[in-house]
């Protein structure tokens, strides 16, 4: 299967709409969890070569936090949210309702809160996707990783790498007032299943 043929401009536009709604819905779930309004800014969707992923996210040796879940059902895929380590500490302050700067490291409680956030965003995203495509998905429990950017992304690359040379990358910033929490929200669908999704929508 030629992926370049599969991913023409028209298709990307359509996916952009579906994924855009999904990320809005994820932010809505996020807002509900912290009890404050979270806005989504600059959502982008593009098809990127698998091997260039670490460069897109920044320095592969930078400290980062990844929240990862897989989904199965009518379509199989992965969701990875990745953010810089320092930004994640601020995010945990928000989640735990403590003054900014309180969180100094990520213990089991903090990781659990982040896992819950990933779970929530992932589920809201998938619900939106399910609604617009008439399919159903089941997400896995979330895994929270604290490590170098490159090492975290290896999870995505290793899992998708046997199947395709390109992945669909969706990035968005979650904003809480003036504080921006940059979240790279990656959705890596299984290519074959994606075709079915397209068929159902066209």
């Amino acid at each position: 299967m030629n992926e370049n043929v599969l991913f023409d401009e028209k298709l990307l536009e359509m996916l952009k709409t579906i994924a855009g709604e999904g990320i809005q819905n994820a932010a809505y779930g996020f807002s509900g969890m912290i009890g404050r309004k979270i806005e989504v800014s600059n959502p982008t969707l593009r098809l990127v070569p698998l091997l260039t992923i670490p460069e897109i996210v920044g320095g592969p040796e930078d400290d980062a936090v990844g929240i990862y879940l897989r989904f199965e059902g009518d379509m199989v895929g992965q969701i990875m949210m990745i953010m810089p380590y320092q930004k994640t500490l601020e995010l945990v302050d928000l989640l735990m309702e403590v003054p900014q700067g309180s969180t100094q490291h990520l213990g089991s409680l903090e990781r659990s809160a982040l896992g819950e956030l990933g779970n929530l965003c992932g589920t809201f995203f998938l619900n939106s996707l399910a609604k617009s495509s008439g399919s159903s998905f089941r997400p896995s429990p979330p895994a929270v990783m604290v490590d170098m950017v490159g090492a975290i992304l290896d999870v995505v690359i290793a899992t998708a790498g046997g199947v395709s040379e390109h992945v669909l990358l969706m990035q968005a910033n979650f904003m809480d007032g003036l504080r921006s929490v940059e979240v790279n929200f990656w959705v890596i669908p299984d290519m074959k299943a994606l075709q079915n999704l397209i068929k159902n929508n066209s």
Partner: protein, 165 residues
């Protein structure tokens, strides 16, 4: 002026005998950094391999041929010999191959790191090459540096200092 290290992305290879050069693969998770050094000629090589082997057995085109552990090792060895390195002198080191996912239900089936390590061991054995040192497995990412000047190889994990292996 000090030169910037030569940074290897996914599936890339670098070979050098210039003592000013430092080869580096940043943030290896389940990926492997495999280095070969001929201490006499100082020819040093490093590859950043991603997956154990090509799924359909087809050897990929040259540009991405260091994506896979088995063909990557073979290509690195061939290129090292072509540069003038002696196979019998080569010091081989493995770094990486971590299992990054430690969540219930997800651990085993996606453990590419372990499969990468196993494939590297088998491939090197088949080529009659021994591994001098390895720092593999576990659950943390690693950065590997190869210093051409003194044939030194170092590893760094998150929150720690670089150290020799």
């Amino acid at each position: 002026m000090k030169k910037d290290p030569i940074s290897l992305g996914l599936g890339e290879r670098a070979i050098s005998r210039n003592p000013e050069d430092v080869l580096v693969a940043y943030g290896l998770g389940s990926c492997l950094g495999i280095s070969m050094i001929d201490p006499l000629t100082r020819i040093s090589g490093l590859i950043h391999v991603v997956l154990p082997t090509a799924a359909n057995g087809i050897i990929p085109s040259d540009a991405i041929s260091h994506k896979y552990v088995d063909s990557g090792i073979e290509n690195l060895l061939a290129a090292m010999i072509k540069e003038g390195a002696n196979k019998n002198r080569l010091i081989v080191r493995l770094v990486g191959g971590a299992n990054m996912l430690i969540s219930p239900g997800m651990t085993n089936s996606f453990d590419i790191g372990t499969r990468n390590i196993e494939t590297a061991h088998k491939t090197l054995q088949r080529l009659n090459m021994t591994i001098a040192t390895e720092e593999v497995g576990g659950h943390t990412g690693r950065t590997v540096h190869v210093y051409v000047a003194d044939s030194r190889v170092t590893v760094r994990v998150i929150g720690e200092k670089e150290r020799d292996i």
